[in-house]
Amino acid sequence: MATAEHTTATSHPKHRRFGGIWSWVFTVDHKRIGILYLVTAIFFFLVGGLEALLVRSQLAFPGGTVVGPDTFNELFTMHATTMVFLSLMPMSVSFFNIVVPLQIGARDVAFPRLNAFSYWVYLFGALLLNSSYLFGGAPNAGWFGYANLTELPFNNATHGIDFWVLGLQVLGVSSMAGAFNFLVTIVNCRAPGMTFMRMPLFTWMTLVTSFLLVFAFPVLTVGLIELMFDRFFGTNFFNPAAGADPILWQHLFWLFGHPEVYILILPAMGIVSDVLPTFSRKPLFGYPVVAYSGVAIGFMAWGVWVHHMFTAGLGPVADAVFSLTTMLIAVPTGIKIFNWIGTIWGGTLNMKTPLYFALGFIAMFTIGGLSGVMLASPPADWLEADTYFVVAHLHYVLFGGTIYGLFAGIYYWFPKVTGRMLDETFGLIHFWLMTIGFNLTFAPMHVLGMDGMPRRIYTYPTGMGWDLWNLVATIGAFTIGASILVFVYNAMSSVRFGKRAGADPWDGRTLEWMIPSPPPDYNFVQIPYVHGREPLWLEKHPETGLGHGHPVPVPIAGGAPELGEYANGGPTADDLGIHLPDPSYYPFIAALGLALTFAGLLIGKAPPPSWMSVVGLLCLFYGVYGWIFEPVTGY
């Protein structure tokens, strides 16, 4: 949103206000929605972690009896589904929410109510999926749910797959709504003077990720719809008896699935690209190259999906072509790593927790990337696929990569969100304990894989040579668990008792550090005019010049007070004549309606729709129509 708003002469409806918990339920403020996302995502991180610890407990010794095979299959399915869809993606979205509008100098996202809707749909979808544990059993066919193991003849002892199919479709709506929102926001709500090439890298990666989400999720949705129709309405999409190809599912899933892994990694890469310059006191090395390599990855992500299917027998030509495209995508990825090293080279590194996690990202992601190159060659992949080698690879990139990047973001932006610093000592304990535990858990899995241990087996006999490394991995997993406890303790105590942070505790370079911590609901007193990349750094350190004939620095927030907290809470939006969108309950109602409509399919497979689906549809229509016709008092 652009310049200072004005009040219209016509009467406005009174501002809607809600108190207490309702102010959270009906909020449309991106910062609050971001906090909701973050807290929920961290909760599900613990849930997924618990599932992992149960898996590792069962595998600690050969012939383990902690859980039986069916429960084991549910556990690893839910571990992955939870981590990917209920934790890592929403955590990235929490940062899109909190940070992107601040970084581009906006007051909120383009569609605040759609934003709220996205969160509630996520929460309800997550609850729907996890309720499967209570209603007969969780999904048990892996997070990738290959047909035709997921078809009724082979999977109808419980309704787990039905919960999976419906839950993921609901979650898909949330992801897509969010992606639409951030795309329009980044394209259309940038402060004056902020061209694309002046955007912070985190915003850049959010843009690319949003494009990937918009185009990848429909493909998954179609796959899920086809599976749902097979299970609910007797269609034949994956029914070999009718002449169908179960491999169609693999294609649809991985056409989604590969862009999905870039959806998972790019935001974390964006965080690292913002953290490294701040903590090195110099700009990102090769900014255009890093930005464009992200875009390149976004395009190339669509051309590699078959590398998940090298053992499916598609033939030498398909294998060869996709091997080459997969190797090619390693190039822009590697370029980023070198540019990051170039960023810290020659800097004065402020060795604080965010930087540790960003450096850890580079170190661990490099390993994951290298094992990825090893997977890119089909003959080598024929030895590695479906073994623990792939488990090692995926965890090095998703944990050592994404999660480390997200933790860097948490430690980096926690002061901005809460106004307090996370404790540095506990932060480093968290980092080292996690790094030791993580490597203890997943490094041996490379060996286990090449020693022939398959994935997704609930037990193994002794004498295979797998005993020692499985035990080591389990010990490592519990070490990770301990480090998470340290983090949770740190977060909970710092929110209340942490050292107070000013607006700019890290000597930041981008716009979010210009406003108080926590920010007022209107973000900026006056929308800044942006003169260059890293506008805040330009203002604070004009002597660094940053070349390109920059003009004499103009105060970027005309008339704004000194950087720091307001003594007595500062002016409100009304004081400043700024219109902010009112909270609204329609997104919540519409989200509830959507979830009920899908959940209702579990009670009675339509037609006719069950009572729950009917209620859900009515709720949805009420929510949507209310939303459309709601008097808008903001912007």
Partner: protein, 342 residues
């Protein structure tokens, strides 16, 4: 607060990582039954060879990148003497080109042997000297057919040493994946699809395999054995497999024959020479000659067989062969009969 790592400690850190690496490497190529890096046939050898090449290239890149990272952190960390405003370098085009071109060249170096190996591995031998084997994955056991000889068996694949084997891989129910790590790469068994691969075993011995694609409750229990024999031994085995067992006369064995042929067994199993011709479960014609049972999860001996017959799902969770609540006598008789089928 915060840690300060002085250079000597950092070096020790790096050395520790390398020591761990070396420890791993000893575990990598070993004599473990399903180790993929010590294959005994040409297909496995070219695949493992390619893996090893790429692995060492990756190790070199790893050492360079991680060392560079660690060095950079130690050298440029903030400390008295390195506290000021650093030069605000934007980038360097020459460097960008260098670290784009060098990875591309490395990848080309990996791509070329990749393509040639794909070609070799896809070159399925035809012709009379290649042994044709049909592999069919079932929940949770492996069917092995020798179409040219008209032999059907389960969970135990016999191969003559030094002979090219052309395999077709299919599935009767869901997707499985067939792999004998000592012989060559894996291939999925997909319903409605016939996948092809070739293998060759150059050493006599017994090699382990199992299913590598999640296929349900007992995915972990879907193993098999590959027994590589001299041509003479293989021919003898094949001849034995082709013989039809005679109707038994010895007391206990005949009793078992009775139990089998009048019981539910005939609904799922085939034994040549009887009226049992069903193809739902494994072919049991020469059951007694096999070294393992129940998806190669147990050694084939009377005690294990009795345990299986008493309660299959207890041995193999989810087993499609239910518990028929056989009496002890029935079990003993069946064991005698089945073990007699050599």
């Amino acid at each position: 607060m915060g840690f300060r790592i002085r250079p000597p400690k950092g070096l020790a850190f790096l050395l520790l990582i390398i020591a761990v690496l070396v420890l791993f490497l000893t575990g990598c190529a070993s004599n473990d039954p399903q180790n993929a890096l010590t294959p005994v046939g040409p297909v496995g050898q070219m695949e493992a060879g390619l893996f090893t090449t790429i692995f060492w290239i990756a190790v070199v890149v790893f050492i360079i990148v991680e060392a560079l990272l660690l060095y950079t952190v130690f050298r440029f960390r903030r400390r008295p003497g390195n506290d000021g405003m650093p030069a605000q370098t934007h980038g360097n085009t020459a460097l960008e080109l260098t670290w784009t071109i060098i990875p591309v060249l490395i990848l080309v170096g990996i791509a070329v042997p990749t393509l040639t190996t794909i070609a070799s591995a896809s070159n399925i031998p035809t012709g009379p000297n290649a042994l044709k084997v049909g592999v069919v994955g079932h929940q949770w056991w492996w069917e092995f057919d020798y179409p040219s000889q008209g032999v059907v068996t389960a969970d135990e694949l016999h191969l003559p040493v030094g002979t090219k084997v052309a395999l077709t891989i299919q599935s009767a129910d869901v997707i499985h994946s067939f792999w004998v790590p000592k012989l060559g790469g894996k291939m999925q068994a997909i319903p409605n699809q016939v996948n092809q691969m070739w293998l060759q075993a150059d050493e006599i011995g017994t090699f382990d395999g199992q299913c590598y694609q999640l296929c349900g409750t007992s995915h972990a229990n879907m193993r098999f054995k590959v027994i590589v024999q001299s041509q003479a031994d293989f021919d003898k085995w094949m001849a034995d497999q082709k013989t039809v067992p005679a109707k038994p006369t010895a007391a206990e064995i005949a009793k078992g024959y009775q139990v089998f042929t009048t019981g539910p067994c005939v609904g799922c199993h085939t034994i040549e020479g009887t009226d049992a011709k069903a193809k739902i479960g494994p072919n049991l014609t020469h059951f007694g000659s096999r070294t393992t049972i129940a998806g190669a999860i147990m050694e084939n001996n009377p005690q294990n067989l009795a345990k299986w017959l008493e309660d299959p799902p207890a041995v193999k969770p989810g087993s499609l062969m239910p518990n028929y609540h056989l009496t002890k006598d029935q079990v003993t008789a069946l064991v005698a009969y089945l073990e007699s089928l050599k």
